[in-house]
Symmetry: C2
Subunit: 139 residues, 2 copies
Amino acid sequence: MNILIASVGKPPKGWMKEGIEEFVSRLKGKFNFEWHVFKNDEQLIAFLSKQREKIFLDPQGKLLSSESFSSLLFHSIERGGATVTFVIGGAEGLPSVLRTEGFLLSLSPMTFTHQMTPLILLEQIYRASEIEKGTLYHK
Amino acid sequence: MNILIASVGKPPKGWMKEGIEEFVSRLKGKFNFEWHVFKNDEQLIAFLSKQREKIFLDPQGKLLSSESFSSLLFHSIERGGATVTFVIGGAEGLPSVLRTEGFLLSLSPMTFTHQMTPLILLEQIYRASEIEKGTLYHK
């Protein structure tokens, strides 16, 4: 199963990078990860035109429990032929042309920094995988 | 203004500790921070009996936007005589006896790890302070 993250702007560094790497390494074996960082919306849109199943992180998106997110993730992977792409817009948010191209997901009614979003997302992907396995991580 | 965090269990370490320290250092000058880590609920309850204004982190709590959280924070600090205490329960959640002792706040309908909650909370406190100042951090 493949999880792609497509984002615009600078990649996280320092402790945020370390946190992301921790969850990516915990998910190894189950998921292949690819992170594509684009300089602008045009590059992002071109890349996404080749991706089948997309989930867009958006403050106006749908709020889900971790259990519902787990269902969404595994259904999306299935529909996407073993691949799903998470999209994180730049400082100005998602280009409006993309807003009908996939599921719009909100992590919280609170605004999180652009840099912390991938960290929180990765922990939810790890949690989703533990929920599916039925382990004690999520109880 | 004083912000106290009272939690049960082990304090965060590694990259999570670094992240928390980054936000605490950015908030210096405006807020004094104290973090009290307790071994069990009994110690937590005894400590909280001496605190006036409390906000409890709880999955069943109220979801707020960052703007509403900013209002809540500054009103609570005012009501608390310049001090507010945020309470993060242990792995089993908050002891039920505390659930009527203050505002119940949820960061997201998703479940976050116990260890990441203070990091996300600290970023929201920093954001709340920037919202009150009217800076570009939160736009």
